[in-house]
Symmetry: C2
Subunit: 130 residues, 2 copies
Amino acid sequence: MSTFTDKGTAAPAAYFAGIVWVNMNVKPEEGYNINMGTVTFEPKARTNWHSHTSGQILFVIEGIGYYQEKGKPIQLIQKGDVVKIPKNIVHWHGASHGNLMRHIALVPDYDKDKTEWFQAVTDEDYNIIK
Amino acid sequence: MSTFTDKGTAAPAAYFAGIVWVNMNVKPEEGYNINMGTVTFEPKARTNWHSHTSGQILFVIEGIGYYQEKGKPIQLIQKGDVVKIPKNIVHWHGASHGNLMRHIALVPDYDKDKTEWFQAVTDEDYNIIK
């Protein structure tokens, strides 16, 4: 058995900004056709803009954060929220200015998924909600 | 956005014993190829014996419970645990004698999955760990 509340290891700097930790709970090679991990964002940390052809589900298990789909306003997300990210929608997620945010993130149909990474979320875009 | 910490509605009595609540967070018809919900077991409540051809993952988000694979000892599971149930393994999960247990449960590759339900877990089998 593993523990999803463990912080894990530093997230790859190429795809994230700020201090981010990733704990992979279910790896595709274990025979389940999903990619699933706990991601912990310290305040102001966030993903780059990205998209998944299979979509993505977030379960916010701690704190307060932000979620934004390209062209839409930033949404506040907090402990208890389920965020359903549609297929192929460019988006980002991360912590709020003053609080850590931790979520479980899951990509279904992983064998068919293509995840694309784009540019970082600029401070100008991030601070719109400040 | 939905809330995974909501208790939901009463679970079907045909497949569960005791007081059990189910909150479906992600339904297959939403376009994600998974079946995912929060299940809350009051003390002594449990599933019947069952199996999934696609396997199942549990994230224990509250309390203390039990998990057993057919022919093996009962395992104690608690908040923070990730339980990876292998494909086609007959098993059950539920609360412990004295504590509620709440988990997120997820079946991947839902379009290919066949879940089979068997007999109830007898008090004799459940009380082995008492």
